[in-house]
Amino acid sequence: MHRTGALYGQFETLEQQKETASLGMWIFLVTEVMFFGGIMLAYTINRHTYYHAFAMGSQTLSIQLGTLNTGVLLASSFTMAMAVWAAQVGKKKLIPLFLALTIVLGFIFFGVKYVEYAQKFHHHLVPGRNFDIAYCVNNPSQCEDINAKDMEKEREELTAAMEADPDLNAHAQLYYSAYFGMTGLHALHMIIGAGLLFWLLRGSLAGRFSAEWNTPVDLVGLYWHFVDIVWIYLFPLLYLIDRHK
């Protein structure tokens, strides 16, 4: 089908084209909901069955980094919404600015995530042969990034969790399966989103988006917000189990 200006050949009007694209995006997001739904179900059942292991696993995550990342991602959602607004009102100079801000925030998120992942590798918390939930407690010299007070707390919690669930190591691996599965899948979506943002940035610098035609900005915005929503759920599910102890 040939394209006339911004209008693709299969459509009659720009209005129809815009509605169609937006509906398509929403339906795609619903498939994403179901996609994450499967792993959420696995998480829920295992969390219920092996509560102690999941609580213990959650204690080993850094709540500071988690909260920081939540804030960063929410802020990126805000800048994204602003980019869409700028496109809607035709402020052509503001679009690339907000897009760039969104990208920067996205990369801060990646950075923090990288620090967290690296720490988990370092602490033998990646599911597999070398997984050892007690690694840091048993080898404090290898985990100097944990301060003495936290280490003492972790030791107490670990002892209690071991009492409750002697097979803690296996079950904590299930927690980390969920952790890496869910955050990994989320990160993959972020990477795709970042790619799309770069593409938008190029387009906006070329002045391609205007008040009349800004569908790509709008759609990528929807996608980016969805990724944000996934994180809104992942944060309490992974970081905040049993923190009151």
């Binding site: 050949g9 299969q10 169609t20 398509g24 619903v30 179901m34 792993i39 299930l174």
Partner: protein
């Protein structure tokens, strides 16, 4: 008014000068096309390829089972045969068959659009399908797959030493092709309808595909993540389904069947849609209870999602859950029954001809009736405890998937072949093929019901000799069935190039797709059509050239409330 059945087709019929097939030439023009009609043909070629691969495996299975002692194939080879038969047929033939071939070709034509809403995504979905198929073919050639098409854990994740990972990845990838197709259909039906094409003027084929798309959209992502987790478990040692790590193999079954049961509706709903086109066309009468048939499609799509654990009655599932799922299973039977009754009622007062597509419709009706009713046995808790995982189940789902979905697919292919290629197939040969298929099918699969009730479990490469009689019958039937499938492939191919020119509307039928030339031009319609008639209305369509002023037929059953 003419009295000939070739009313619109004078003696000097010619193909239109410019149509989608000759709009451009060369491999590039096909591989980079965004025309939904060409993509449909790409799909047609690829699903046919997979159908014959799957058919080859089926033939090996049946030949092997002639003897109870398993003399033809080794146990491992046999297990690979039925697994790969299942995987190819389910994921690479049945699920894409009607939607991706007929649906792709027809939905824009039927709603009066120039193309699907997202033509590039449509092409992308074909490429995804091909990539997924390649992975699976690769797995077949490097050790095959022996887990059963259901990939039950921990057999598939830990114990099997066949090429599970590439096959699972292949199915995972193909899922996205299905998602994108469904997405495209949903959006197209919502936003691309021609002026005057209201929801209740849509052909039931479109309704059925709408319902199918809902299932594709909401179910497929779940199988994707499930197979993704299973693959991660096999490769990286994640533990959700591994009992040795505290995981639960039953969870895999829940997630698997959450998609794979509704997937049956992805196969049968479009076939029902085809039948809902064929019966009114060849009875020249509005479909009885249009609104009920449309609603039944949606009801099947929704309730179909609530019944999955009836595949798991004997896994040690909670008794309460089993009761709930059995109850819902009986509920989902009702809309199917309503459809069958409405199709039958449509025949009354019609003017019925026995062209090949109608023979397929009759065949579908008979086979779907058996398949659907035997579903009641399986949904019934007290009988499932005996026949679960026996040949009774095998026979039941073949009646639905082959007797139902494939009959619908072939009926549809015959019906729209003149539209797709602009040419007619040899009618008598086609009628004989339809008959051969029907006989062969019943001979193959009916004995399997008896085998199942006698207690022969499925997926057996050897079996006690007392089961041999029925197995031999089944194998004999399968050879007839094979002929029945080869015939249409040959003469349809022939007809595409050398058949008699068909004209725009040879049957005649009422849908929008028949108002445009055969084969249609690339942009489908020369001007955007405006719809002023109800679906299947033969009476207010003078351009069809039918004898509406002749003696009207009586309703036959009961007085009509919807006379127009």
């Amino acid at each position: 008014m003419s009295t000939s059945s070739t009313i619109n087709t004078g003696p000097a019929l010619k193909l239109p000068e410019k149509h989608y097939l000759n709009a451009s030439y060369g491999i590039r023009s096909w591989l980079l096309t965004t025309d939904h009609k060409r993509i449909a043909l790409l799909y047609l070629a690829s699903v046919t390829f997979f159908f014959f691969i799957g058919g080859f495996f089926a033939m090996m299975i049946r030949l092997h089972l002639m003897s109870p002692y398993g003399t033809l194939l080794s146990a491992d080879t046999y297990n690979r045969m039925f697994t790969m038969h299942g995987v190819t047929m389910v994921f690479f033939f049945l699920i894409p068959s009607i939607p991706a071939v007929l649906g792709n070709f027809l939905i824009p034509l039927m709603v009066g659009a120039k193309d699907l809403a997202f033509p590039k995504i449509n092409l992308l979905s074909w490429y995804i399908y091909i990539i997924g198929g390649s992975f699976t073919l690769y797995s077949m050639m490097t050790g095959g797959l022996d887990t059963g098409w259901t990939f039950y854990t921990p057999l598939s994740t830990i114990y099997s030493n066949s090429a599970v990972a590439p096959a699972v990845v292949g199915v995972f990838i193909t899922g996205f092709s299905s998602i994108l197709t469904g997405l495209n259909f949903l959006v197209t039906v919502h936003t691309m309808r021609a002026p005057g094409m209201t929801w209740f003027r849509l052909p039931l084929f479109v309704w059925a595909h709408y319902a199918t798309s809902v299932v594709m959209i909401l179910g497929t992502p779940v199988i994707a993540i499930t197979l993704g987790l299973a693959a991660m478990e096999r490769v990286f040692g994640l533990g959700f389904f591994n009992p040795a790590m505290g995981g639960d193999p039953i969870l895999f079954q829940h997630l698997f069947w959450f998609y794979s049961h509704p997937a049956v509706y992805i196969m049968i709903l479009p076939a029902m849609g085809v039948i809902s086109e064929l019966i009114p066309t060849f009875a020249r009468k509005k479909l009885f209870g249009y609104h009920f048939v449309a609603a039944a499609s949606l009801a099947i799509a929704v309730i179909g999602f609530l019944v999955w654990a009836h595949h798991m009655f004997l896994t040690g599932q909670s008794t309460y859950a089993a009761l709930a799922f059995s109850f819902l299973t009986f509920l989902v039977a009702i809309p199917s029954a309503v459809k069958v009754f409405n199709w039958t009622a449509t025949l009354f007062g019609g003017s019925i001809s026995f062209d090949t597509p109608m023979l397929y419709a009759f065949g579908f009706l008979g086979l779907f009736l058996v398949g659907g009713l035997t579903g009641l046995f399986l949904g019934c808790l007290g009988i499932d405890m005996h026949v679960h995982d026996t040949y009774f189940v095998v026979a039941h789902f073949h009646y639905i998937m082959v007797g139902g979905a494939v009959m619908g697919y072939l009926g549809g292919l015959h019906f729209w072949w003149p539209k797709i290629t602009g040419r007619k197939y040899p009618e008598w040969l086609a009628r004989i093929a339809a008959l051969v298929l029907f006989v062969g099918f019943n001979l193959t699969f009916f004995p399997q019901f008896v085998l199942g009730y006698l207690g022969m479990p499925r997926r057996y490469h050897v079996y006690p000799p007392e089961f041999q009689v029925y197995n031999v019958m089944s194998t004999a039937g399968a050879s007839i069935l094979a002929v029945g499938y080869l015939l249409p492939m040959i003469y349809l191919m022939w007809a595409a190039f050398y058949g008699e020119v068909a004209g725009n509307n040879p049957w005649p039928a009422t849908g929008l797709e028949w108002t445009t030339p055969s084969p249609p031009p690339t942009e489908n319609f020369e001007v955007t059509p405006v719809v002023t008639w109800e679906a299947y209305d033969f009476h207010n369509r003078p351009e069809l050239g039918l004898d509406v002023l002749g003696v009207p037929r009586h309703g036959g059953m009961l007085p009509a409330h919807g006379d127009d």
